[in-house]
Point group: C2
Chain length 405, copies 2
């Protein structure tokens, strides 16, 4: 038999394991609430748009160019104007195959091996993994309840300048930050933009959870407030509609977009997904997101109640301002990496903090719990199981009841 391993390129990532199914109690992944998938309206959208424009599928990119389906780009421009105060049009928008492709494209555009990028100290695992694979160093800036701390960003930028290091960009998830679910205040946004200008460092704004905010209030996007056009904005429909759809977008000026387009040599993003999504969103997006968000808040309340019941005061958390995850602090004795492994054996999947942070000690006893997908009963059972595993492993919580710690 031929041995392919002799032919492998250098520095490949480790092999994937065979798919073993989702955990019984799955608190990981950007999954969403299955009952809220709008089946009837998606069917209607698919039927209408296919009958009207389906013959265009015979041409790459529907014959309208590689930036994406025009009605989808127009919808995105309108939504960003209304929700995020952004002034952009279809020509500023590149539709991509999920915001992961957006990250890949932006990283390819701006980074070489050995470069430095500034991130929130706790941030999206996928970003950290991708930067590491490119040989790019991620420097974390601590957060508090109002998002990235601007005093810490200022001193990080100053320290790097002293060391003669120019970071390639500041990667931030300002609106429902992943994993802390904080929202960067408007005052801090303006300060981040000022610092970015002062140090000549652009900002990559990942706004992919920004549609899911409990009180529907959000500050304008960094992109909207920039005076120097130094922001690349990323968004997604994975969280607002469905993650198995792979449709995201990048908003940027033409200097940036023309290069991203050259890097995006994939024959276009799936047109059927774009067409059905656009047709659906034009008619239903705002109503859908409002209803979805209400349902997600109910699930968050279910999760926090379950945590209080099973972990008592051992589980500390700030109320999420939106999104699909809760960032939880357990007592210092808990090693979240170990907890994650033991919990997995008991059928509970969690994201251990160190995988979502540049600070191993700070994140050691923290974890991210995604609550959008499991049914309420599974949230309760899963948290109870997690507490039992944690007690067996670390003696915490001492008693599983909502009064003990």
């Amino acid at each position: 038999m031929f041995d392919f391993t002799k032919m492998f390129a250098a520095n490949l990532p480790a092999a994937s394991g065979k798919w073993s199914g989702l955990a019984k109690y799955n608190f990981t992944g950007g999954n969403n609430d299955a009952p809220q998938i709008p089946l009837d309206d998606l069917v209607t959208a698919a039927s209408n748009v296919l009958r009207r424009e389906g013959r265009n599928l015979a041409v790459y990119n529907l014959g309208t160019g590689p930036q994406g389906y025009v009605p989808l780009r127009d919808f995105i421009a309108g939504k960003l104007k209304r929700d995020a105060g952004m002034s952009c049009d279809r020509d500023n928008i590149l539709v991509v195959s999920g915001s992961l492709q957006a990250l890949d494209l932006v990283n390819a555009l701006l980074t070489d091996k050995g470069d430095v990028v500034i991130v929130e100290q706790e941030t999206y695992q996928g970003t950290l993994t991708r930067l590491a694979q490119r040989g790019v160093r991620a420097i974390g800036v601590p957060l508090d309840n109002d998002g990235m701390r601007m005093d810490a960003l200022a001193s990080t930028l100053a320290d790097l300048r002293s060391a003669n290091v120019k970071p390639k960009f500041i990667y931030t998830i300002p609106t429902v930050q992943n994993p802390t679910a904080t929202i960067l205040t408007q005052q801090r946004r303006l300060e981040m933009l000022r610092l970015a200008d002062e140090y000549g460092v652009p900002i990559v704004e990942d706004d992919c959870y920004a549609d899911l905010i409990w009180d529907r209030q959000r500050p304008p996007a960094l992109y909207a407030s920039s005076k120097s056009d130094n922001v690349i904005h990323i968004g997604s429909f994975s969280k607002s509609i469905a993650p198995a759809l792979r449709v995201g977008y990048i908003v940027a000026n033409w200097t940036v977009l023309s290069r991203l387009l050259a890097l995006k040599n994939d024959g276009g993003t799936g047109a059927l997904e774009q067409m059905i999504l656009a047709e659906y969103c034009i008619n239903h997006f705002a109503d859908h997101v409002e209803q979805l968000t209400r349902g997600l808040k109910v699930k968050l309340d279910c999760l926090t109640a379950a945590l209080s019941e099973s972990f008592g005061t051992s589980a500390e958390f700030e109320a999420s301002k939106g999104g699909i995850f809760l960032w939880v602090k357990l007592p210092d004795g808990v090693d979240a990496m170990k907890l994650s492994q033991s919990a997995s054996k008991a059928g509970v999947a969690i994201n251990p903090g160190p995988e979502w942070s540049t600070n191993a000690s700070f994140s050691k006893s923290r974890l991210r719990l995604c609550f959008a997908h499991p049914a309420p009963d599974d949230i309760r059972r899963g948290v109870r199981t997690l507490a039992e595993v944690c007690r067996n492993e670390f003696g915490i919580p001492q008693v599983i009841a909502n009064v003990a710690g």
Copy 2:
């Protein structure tokens, strides 16, 4: 204004231009016959599969793992068994976002900068571009009417061995070769497999046009005849259903697939496209392809008649055995790169030979004409316009009539 260019990575591809629309007479691109897009059946498929399984969209990869939608993989396995003699099952198959992603993944798996890959001398431009971008050298092996010449492959392999160079793989489009539309004979397939074993070089088999054969006869895939499991097989639905859909697949053993999966960190291929495609294909693929192929053959006949009428004996070509393109030789005085530029100004888009070949002099007067998308009248008018441009530029054909040369 912030100057992003200061932040760009090294060695970026050139910026893309703004989209300026398709040429009036467009003989480029893997586009298909718009009237043959099966709208009603796609609408029915979308409706049925969404109503039955749409809630699974709430989970990444529909909750069934990153290799792709299971019914689609099962369909592919059955189709490859029936049409290409391949023995594989869902576990050997990775669904990807078009065969371009397949090429990217395979290149990432097997090549580093400075490596050498063997290709057919005339081959897919996207492959040549991608290899060049990776700093991989493509060495072309000449073809004749039966596909890649095995005597030439043998001497290429021997020469490389003498030079102490081990090519990373043989990239071949054996079945409806792009751009020559030849089909590699079974005898040559067995010889290619023997040479590959002898020299310890694997084969990457790109079979993405293999569904579109006029007489529906094809030899078994190389993958099917390999005794040493040294073939990675690539396929696509872009040509058989629609190119704006981005769904292709890779068939390989688990040693290869487990690494490709690790490289494919894109959150999965669009599920809506996979679901609708699978639902459609399970019920209609064979009938659809038979009808599509009949229609494409009519268009090819229209193109060859138009060429004879406008170019006379100046346009030489072998009858395509299938597919969507014709590889045409004009007299030696014609510079296809220049012709392409002048034709473009006259509203005619063609693929000049040198962009589809590793041999600049051999391909200088050759061009690829895609015939699947333009309507018959546009094929005739476009070819006539091309002949006029060619006569103005090169004095060929001397007279635009089917008797002159």
